[in-house]
């Protein structure tokens, strides 16, 4: 579904040249939920923006369903890391969520229904009439999520979407995302810093190295498809996986691939569990 081939991105300007992404090649299958982790500043946002057609790569290409991505493809939703700035301050929450729907040919009643559902699922029904800047950080972030959900996308790119919400809400939203993914079969690419979250959510975890970035490791998450907050997180396999990811990130930060005997077997390219 999503093919990233030899992606390279160099930022230039204002007296600074940064090779953010050096060479990334990987594939996300249709209907897969892939989590992306990596050290701060390694180029996750850059990668996501390139995949979303918001940024032109310096070289390499991104293919969506076999066709190169040159601009934002239809049916794709993006949750930005800078949630505060991605909401329009001149629109009330309701209108912010509704705006992208207006581009789709939907009946007004259907639109309203989608908006109400999305807001409810992130627990913001009460705030529908407020302006974004009247909300707390976490609430703003949930508005951005609601907007993406209401859009009913085929591909969902989320850039640290739960960074500003509390633990309980976070757990609820994680289950919400997994639930939607299972019901609708959408393709999700999910950037997070929370390793537990990556392992809990993903079918596969992609670990990126520090900048200039390459894929440090791809890890199949061989947990059962049915996951829940109480049992999955205490499963021994979960602990193993999260320790492995953590060590890989530490290794990435030290600038080289971890060479840990005890996790070798995890790199096996076993078929996804679902």
């Amino acid at each position: 579904m999503l093919d990233v081939r030899g992606l390279k991105k160099v930022y230039e300007g204002s007296g600074r040249r940064v090779e953010a992404v050096r060479d990334l090649t990987f594939t996300v299958d249709a209907g897969e939920l892939v989590c992306l982790v990596g050290p701060s500043g390694c180029g996750k946002t850059t990668l996501l923006k390139c995949m979303g057609g918001l940024l032109t790569p310096t070289s390499g290409e991104v293919l969506l369903g076999g066709r190169p991505v040159s601009g934002p493809p239809p049916g794709m939703a993006f949750v930005f890391q800078e949630y505060g700035r991605s909401l329009f301050p001149w629109m009330r929450v309701r209108d912010n969520v509704e705006l992208p729907l207006k581009q789709k040919k939907l009946s007004p009643s259907r639109r309203r229904e989608l908006v109400a559902d999305a807001l409810e699922s992130v627990g913001l029904t009460d705030a529908a009439g407020a302006y974004p800047w009247q909300l707390s950080g976490g609430m703003q972030q949930r508005v951005a999520i609601a907007r993406a959900l209401a859009y009913e996308p085929d591909v969902l790119l989320m850039d640290e979407p739960f960074a500003a919400v509390d633990a309980q809400t976070r757990a609820d939203l994680e289950d919400l995302v997994r639930g939607l993914w299972q019901q609708r079969g959408i393709t999700i690419l999910f950037v997070t810093h929370d390793i537990d979250e990556a392992v809990y959510l993903g079918e596969r975890v992609l670990i990126l190295s520090t900048s200039p970035t390459v894929v440090q490791e791809q890890l199949k998450v061989d947990l059962p498809a049915e996951r829940d907050q109480l049992h999955t997180r205490v499963a021994p396999r979960f602990a193993e996986l999260r320790t492995h990811v953590y060590e890989q990130i530490q290794a990435a930060k030290r600038g080289k691939a971890a060479d840990l005997e005890d996790v070798k077997d995890m790199k096996a390219d076993a078929p996804p569990t679902h």
Binding site: G53, S86, W90, Y131
Partner: protein, 259 residues
């Protein structure tokens, strides 16, 4: 209630002080060009009531309205296009800057060639002057749309007219309003200038007539009337702005309210 009284105080205090200062400074003036304020004030009702109101003030206001509206439409439309496309900006900017630097009094003959000497000409003159602050501010406002916001819009497929209406114009609106505000007073100035040419009625025309015929107190009442007009229009403008930019003032005020 207390709030209202305070606001009223702020609106009136400084003007009152200035008027009182003027009153006493000019009280014993014998200079023809500097008549005492009380002469001006007693002349005022004689000059600006009755027929003058409908024959001179009203036509002027209508022309102002027409010219201003035209400038607003053209300025915002053109400004959006120029602001959105770097190449268009590069092509148009020199010509626009050139035209902008031509003083309206010498532009008037050229406009007259195209637009005759009737109201069209005056409206064109007003519009040709008002358009610049609106245009420039729109260009800058459109150029400064927050990158994350425009990326958001792009990624959700909000393009074309929806993007223009919901994102670009709204985001640029604080700056567009700065331009509209500037244009309002320039419009009044150009209303006067346009009525100095080929006119036979209007506020500007009347004032110039007074000046030429040495009816100096009458001329001063005209200047006062222009000031009053500007003031009233700006109050109206502020009402509209408060409405349209409500989100913006709310956003900007949150921190200030507390300090």
């Amino acid at each position: 209630m207390k709030n209202l009284a305070l606001r009223l105080f702020f609106v009136l205090a400084l003007p009152l002080i200035l008027v009182i200062a003027w009153w006493f400074a000019s009280d014993s003036s014998t200079d023809v060009y500097w008549p005492p304020l009380h002469t001006i004030l007693t002349t005022f009702p004689d000059v600006w009531t009755g027929e003058r109101l409908s024959d001179d003030v009203l036509p002027s206001l209508l022309r102002l309205l027409a010219g201003y509206t035209a400038a607003a439409v053209v300025g915002v439309a053109l400004g959006t296009v120029i602001g959105s496309y770097r190449r268009v900006r590069a092509v148009c900017e020199p010509v626009l800057e050139f035209l902008r630097a031509v003083p309206p009094p010498v532009l008037v003959p050229v406009i007259m060639l195209f637009a005759g000497i009737g109201d069209t000409m005056k409206i064109a003159v007003i519009a040709s002057g008002c358009v610049w602050p609106i245009l420039l501010n729109t260009v800058e406002g459109v150029r400064a749309v927050d990158s994350v916001m425009s990326e958001t819009a792009r990624s959700y497929g909000i393009t074309g007219s929806a993007r223009l209406r919901h994102v670009v114009l709204r985001s640029a609106s604080p700056q567009i309003f700065a331009g509209l505000r500037q244009a309002l007073s320039i419009g009044i100035i150009l209303m006067v200038i346009s009525e100095m040419f080929a006119a036979s009625n209007g506020l500007g025309f009347t004032i110039v007539q007074f000046q030429r015929n040495f009816a100096i107190p009458d001329m001063w009442t005209g200047i006062l009337l222009l000031g009053l007009l500007g003031f009233v229009l700006s109050v109206l403008f502020r009402l509209v702005e408060r409405q349209v930019l409500g989100w913006y003032h709310g956003l900007r005020d949150t921190s200030r309210r507390s300090s």
